[in-house]
């Protein structure tokens, strides 16, 4: 397929791999932040082409995975109320809350629907004036403009029966939090290309300078990732810690400014709890005062709850890059995509699900 096969060429992949073997002289630990990159790495087997000195650590960039349990519980509470059409992206429906998941709510008769765009939820609100339509907005800066656009449209149309449960998160504060942690082993970052398509990459300069860490904005195809790793290793080997852009065909330094304007108008930056990591200051988006009427949490008065994660699920350590998915004792045994203990086993972008799907049972992974 045009614009895709070019970035999946086996010959070029081998060339990048050879160059990586040539330039690598010592062990390096590099984190790919985005779950989409984790998925591509495991699906195409990119890590198997790398020199053994290079370890890829899978970062917390799967929005479904980091959505806190409390927020899922709130979603479940709203979805079970009468006269509600509860909408979200497909993966969110299977994420277990503390008691159940949205798909089970649907099976019991709740009106829970998958939408492909938040604007479809706005359309539903127009088509069903007698119902309350709630959209569960999750994601990083990449999906925030679409969520913002939906709220903006709903306001323009004066819709009173539309609201949003917002759990948007931001990448740079998460990188900052990871680098500030005493356990952090990460020496270089592949920044998420799609996030930077929206936000640009100026936010990363202070992080790279403060922590002396190379950050390379990287795309999602095999050759993108190999080149991103090569650029990071070249920086590490030569003692540089700069922000570079591998994904030049999609990312500009300043990003997509109209999208940023819309985000600023509709949202405000708030502290946000990340599943498996804890609260990170200034790391999320919530609705601004101007759009507070669309806040489902306020509209439905859902109570704050504090629930503990399953002690058997080590997703926090996986999301912080401290262990690989198959090092978790529950992996493939008590925790599978059919019966997930934690969110990283649910989403297509979750590290645990990617390992399970493409590397198989714990024995098969261990042999690799």
């Amino acid at each position: 397929m045009k614009y895709l096969d070019e970035y999946r060429d086996a010959g070029m992949a081998q060339q990048f791999a050879r160059e990586l073997h040539r330039v690598t002289t010592q062990p390096w630990k590099i984190m790919e932040v985005c779950g989409g990159q984790t998925h591509a790495i495991v699906k195409f087997g990119i890590d198997e082409l790398l020199p053994k000195e290079i370890t890829l650590i899978h970062g917390p960039g799967c929005p479904v995975c980091v959505t806190p349990l409390e927020m899922i519980d709130k979603a479940l509470e709203i979805a079970t109320r009468p006269n509600i059409i509860f909408t979200s992206f497909g993966d969110m429906l299977r994420v277990p809350g503390s008691t159940t998941d949205l798909l089970s709510v649907k099976a019991k008769g709740g009106d829970v629907r998958i939408v492909y765009s938040p604007l479809d939820a706005v359309k539903l609100a127009e088509q069903n004036p007698a119902k309350d339509i709630v959209f569960f907005g999750v994601g990083f800066e990449t999906t925030a403009p679409a969520t913002a656009m939906a709220v903006y449209h709903a306001a323009q149309k004066g819709l009173k029966n539309f609201s949003m449960l917002i759990s948007h998160v931001l990448v740079p504060p998460a990188i900052e939090a990871l680098m500030s942690s005493p356990n952090c082993k990460v020496e270089g970052f592949l920044a998420a290309g799609h996030v930077c398509t929206v936000m640009g990459f100026e936010e990363y300069f202070p992080i790279a300078a403060k922590h002396r860490v190379p950050i390379v904005v990287t795309g999602f195809e095999p050759l993108d990732i190999l080149q991103g790793v090569l650029m990071t290793v070249q920086q590490l080997e030569s003692g540089r810690a700069e922000v570079e852009n591998q994904y030049v065909r999609a990312v500009r330094r300043v990003g997509n400014q109209p999208a940023q304007e819309l985000i600023k108008k509709v949202f405000k930056v708030v502290p946000r709890k990340w599943r498996g990591i804890g609260e990170i200051p200034q790391s999320g988006l919530g609705l601004s005062e101007e759009y507070a009427a669309f806040d489902a949490e306020k509209k439905f008065g859902v109570a704050e709850s504090f629930v503990g994660e399953s002690p058997e699920c080590l997703s926090g350590l996986v999301l912080q890059g401290q262990i690989k998915p198959h090092n978790c004792p529950a992996f493939g045994a008590k925790c599978t995509p059919e019966r997930p203990l934690g969110a990283p086993m649910v989403s297509g972008e979750g590290a645990c699900a990617a390992y399970y799907r493409y590397r198989g049972q714990p024995d098969a992974v261990a042999k690799k």
Partner: protein, 360 residues
């Protein structure tokens, strides 16, 4: 390929070739009484089902059709169809209910002969819609050379069905001595697919979700029995055949690996996927290997017959895009591996749970 979001209701009306008038015209909608066992039901059966599917076996109107067969072995199968919407680009629930069961019979290496058809109709279904489906079944059965010889009609309360559910069972005759089963798969067997993958699943997805692609993706729903009978006639050493429906190629290969106790390997680049289907899958985060088909099968044949099989498949329209995609490595713990586009081996697993909403 750019993907355009379209108005969900903006589908074009389906055009039908057999534009016969609806034979039960005094009732524009199906009523509960049409399934009640009384006059209305008899009228529906006489004027609609008997009219469309007419043949001597059905005309006996007995509780069961009595089939006269030779002393050959029989293949027998059943399948239910709950696809939504009832009409989709490239097909409809009626033709699909015939093709699906014919294809299941073909996978056992049999010549499909007789089908049953059971209708579960939701009260209020427009009679016209039912007639269109019946006409489509009639045409598909004629094209496949099968007869619909028995059937059943039930009408359920409004809200208790989804318009129309169909069940077809089928009987086919086996005219050869070959064993075509997963257990018959041998180390070294060549693996072929009969065409490009993922069209049915993506066609349904596009209509259901209001997605429109630059070139229209039509379902691949089609009968494949003639190709299979040709392969058998040419004495191709077929070891196993499997219809690629829900779960796609990935599920079929895993099921066969499991049943045969074999390791299977395929090459991602060899699997034919049309460009527009590939683009749609990329956009929606789906893997074409997991997406449903309705007119595709995978064949395991002896290695020495692989080229001949490929050429024979490619001579038929329905399997013109057939390709050799992999081989059976050998006896082992069941496993399917795939050589990725960049040349690295990985596991090809079944998708867990639903990839798409109801699609067949």
């Amino acid at each position: 390929m750019p993907l355009r979001k379209n108005d969900m209701n903006a589908q074009k009306p389906i055009e039908f070739s057999g534009a016969c008038p609806v034979p039960v015209s005094q009732y524009p909608h199906v009523l509960l009484a049409h399934g009640g066992g009384g006059k209305l039901m008899h009228q529906l059966i006489e004027k609609m089902f008997l009219e469309a599917f007419r043949n001597p076996l059905l005309e006996t109107q007995h509780d069961a059709a009595v089939l006269e067969l030779t002393d050959k072995k029989l293949a027998f199968t059943t399948d239910s169809y709950v696809v939504r919407p009832l009409f989709f680009p490239g097909g409809d629930i009626g033709s699909m209910a015939v093709h699906g069961t014919v294809n299941d019979l073909a996978m056992a290496g049999s010549r499909p002969l007789y089908l049953s058809s059971a209708f579960i109709i939701e009260e209020g279904l427009p009679m016209e819609t039912l007639w269109k489906v019946v006409c489509s079944m009639r045409d598909a059965a004629k094209k496949c050379g099968v007869q619909i010889v028995t059937g059943d009609t039930k009408v359920v309360d409004k809200g208790k069905g989804d318009g129309l559910f169909l069940n077809t069972a089928g009987v086919g005759i086996i005219e050869h001595d070959k064993k075509i089963t997963p257990q018959n798969v041998r180390p070294g067997d060549a693996i072929l697919v009969s065409g490009d993958l993922g069209r049915h699943g993506m066609a349904i997805m596009a209509v259901r979700e209001g997605l429109e692609f630059e070139s229209k993706i039509e379902s691949d729903s089609a009968p494949v029995h003639e190709v299979v009978l040709d392969l058998l006639k040419a004495s191709i050493e077929i070891h196993c055949l499997r219809d690629l429906t829900r779960g796609g190629l990935a599920s079929a290969l895993n099921e066969i690996a499991e049943a045969a106790g074999m390791k299977i390997t395929i090459e991602e680049k060899s699997v034919p996927v049309r460009e527009d289907v590939h683009a749609a899958c990329e956009m929606l985060g789906l893997d074409p290997l997991h997406v449903a088909n309705e007119g595709r099968f995978v064949a395991f044949v002896a290695a020495q017959d692989s080229e001949r099989t490929l050429h024979m498949l490619q001579r038929h329209n329905v399997s013109a895009n057939a390709a050799l995609i992999g081989k059976v490595v050998g006896k082992s713990a069941p496993l399917v591996t795939l050589k990725s586009a960049i040349g690295v081996q990985r596991i090809l697993d079944m998708a867990s749970g639903e990839q798409l909403p109801r699609i067949c």
